[in-house]
């Protein structure tokens, strides 16, 4: 059996497969379908400081090989998370990464400061790239300076590693990745969803309550792979890739272009055991090819450049 363990520097994972924030609930929703100890770790649903209502429905539109969502980060807030969810997750043998949200920089910091007082969290993933909250889809990860500042602010306050989650809705992903690195991020993860829209021709209304939403799923994989490749070449900190990953081969492709770990998102909805299956498929691929360590594939793409 190939060695699937993955070293992010700030965190060692049993295998490179994490579940993506917002697509895996608080983890507990998936207990009927998979063993949380089978995946490398889970990134829980984005948390604001307080509970959030989220956007009015409809919140989802299916598109060709994709899904647009405008959930708007409905959630329970840090207090209930720490009281109800964390104890449950601590009993499972898995790395828990908390996806941190905020309406302004200060809220991100408050979430971190609060959670720093609780055990059972391996790292924070700063969600500076959610396109569903503001109606024009703007977010800090669209600007290098805003990215660097919020990451630096989070790092100053946090006793835990901080991963910056980047947006694909930018001209130059390399410069944003470098800004996150400059701000002191321990790693970056990408991509969040592509800003998108769907309309109902007959009613002449947007199909989403929020007008705009974020596109995910297999449709975006080619863009996600390109951005992961560009980001991985731009920084030295570890890169976590995602976007449309549905199979072990998909996951290994992201590793090939430079991702040290991956996240599985929309695929969890289609097949709730996806993440565990992908781990198995990575192992099977390595075994079939005689690869002793899955991590050896990271960044080995031959571009002839």
């Amino acid at each position: 059996m190939a060695d699937l363990s993955t070293d992010l520097g700030f965190l060692r994972l049993r295998n490179p497969v994490l579940t993506a924030s917002g697509t895996f609930g608080y983890g507990t929703e998936f207990l009927p379908f998979l063993d949380l100890a089978a995946v490398g770790g889970i990134v829980v649903k984005g948390l604001y400081f307080g509970p959030r209502e989220g956007n009015p429905p409809p919140r989802l539109v299916e598109t060709a090989s994709g899904l647009i969502n405008a959930i708007g980060l409905q959630g329970v807030g840090v207090e209930r998370f720490a009281a109800d969810v964390l104890p449950e997750l601590r009993r499972r043998d898995t790395a828990v990464i908390v996806n941190v949200c905020g309406s302004g920089d200060e809220e991100y910091y408050r979430v971190i400061e609060f959670l720093d007082g609780h055990e059972g969290i391996a790292a924070y993933e700063l969600n500076i790239s959610c396109p569903n909250v503001k109606r024009n889809g703007a977010c800090p990860a669209m600007d290098p300076r805003a990215t660097r500042e919020i990451v630096a602010g989070a790092k100053r306050r946090s006793r835990r590693p901080v991963i910056a989650k980047l947006s694909p809705n930018v001209t130059d992903i390399a410069s944003i990745a470098r800004a996150a690195e400059d701000g002191g991020a321990d790693g970056i993860s990408l991509i969040n969803t592509l800003l998108a829209m769907a309309v109902d021709l007959d009613t002449r209304k947007p199909k989403l309550g929020n007008v705009l939403g974020g596109l995910s799923g297999p449709a975006i994989k080619p863009v996600a792979l390109r951005m992961t490749y560009q980001a991985a070449r731009a920084v030295k900190i570890p890169v976590i890739g995602m976007g449309g990953i549905c199979t072990g081969r998909d996951a290994l492709e992201f590793m090939l272009v430079g991702a040290r770990a991956v996240q599985v998102g929309t695929a969890n909805f289609v097949d709730p055991a996806s993440a565990a299956r992908i781990v198995r498929e990575i192992g099977d691929y390595c075994d079939a090819r005689g690869l002793a360590r899955a991590a050896d594939i990271v960044g080995t793409l031959k571009t002839g450049l």
């Binding site: 609930g25 929703e29 989220g54 429905p57 919140r59 989802l60 539109v61 899904l67 909805f269 709730p272």
Partner: protein, 263 residues
């Protein structure tokens, strides 16, 4: 660990756009109860990407039935499946109809429109087997849209039909038929499934009369098991409302819990 059972199609009937599939699956049958649903893959590829929710139309010891109407691409693909093929199903999911208290001497009226009748057959059978008195109100646009009427009748389930165009039974909405029936008598509870407008109207009627009513709601579902928060509906809470998940907290809610958005 719950697996996704690949269920084999062992029976199929079609009436125009409406189709009935019987699947062999002890796993699915084991978790069955009226009002619960399955999430079903309709293609091997990524288009359509998401599973489609379909209610349990009936269930036995090793089989379950689905009854659906072609509404778009996913259900059209499903309609093409033939006996002997397998379906990738997740479930049963959700909280179904609550039947406690509905035993001998109690009466339940079931109201369904179009494809919304799907879960009511199973519900009617189950209530009857518990000794409750059941009456089903079944509506559609035309007589072609109430294809299950013979199935209900041959099962001995009392049935009142309504068609918008009067081509069969009462001429008008099934809610109007129900309204008329309620003038002549009162059941101990209402159970309804159908489009939002029908649910809203049935709920209002029940609340007005102080009758307990359970309504099965629909929404586009990303996952079906509570993970995506895509399927919410506004449900009463304290003095206000709160978005709750139809797939997990429902699809069946009490009429008194549901808040309807202004159109």
């Amino acid at each position: 660990m719950r697996r996704e059972p690949a269920a084999r199609i062992i029976g199929k009937r079609s009436w125009g756009d409406f189709h009935l599939l019987r699947l062999e699956s002890p796993d699915l049958a084991a978790g069955a109860s009226p009002g619960r649903f399955l999430m079903i893959r309709t293609s091997d590829g990524f288009d359509p990407l998401l599973r489609r929710p379909l209610s349990l139309h009936d269930a036995g010891d090793v089989w379950i039935e689905l009854f659906f109407r072609v509404a778009g691409r996913g259900t059209a693909l499903l309609a093409k499946k033939k006996e002997g093929e397998t379906l990738d199903c997740l479930g049963p999911l959700g909280r179904g109809f609550r039947m406690d208290g509905f035993g001998a001497g109690r009466t339940a009226w079931l109201i369904g429109g179009g494809r919304g009748v799907a879960p009511l057959y199973y519900l009617a059978r189950t209530l009857i087997s518990r000794g409750a008195g059941v009456r089903v109100f079944y509506g559609g646009k035309t007589s072609a849209e109430i294809p299950l009427r013979e199935k209900f009748e041959s099962a001995g389930i009392p049935l009142d039909c309504a068609t918008d165009d009067g081509s069969f039974g009462f001429a008008g909405f099934v809610t109007a038929l129900l309204e008329r029936a309620l003038e002549g008598g009162r059941p101990d509870g209402l159970f309804a499934c159908g489009p939002d407008a029908m649910m809203k109207r049935t709920g209002r009627m029940a609340l007005g009369l102080g009758l307990p009513a359970q309504l099965s709601l629909e929404a586009v579902m990303g996952c079906g098991f509570g993970a995506c928060w895509g399927c919410v509906h506004r449900i009463k809470k304290d003095d206000g409302g709160q978005w709750r998940k139809i797939c997990e907290d429902g699809p069946v809610f009490g009429a008194d819990e549901i808040l309807w958005e202004e159109a």
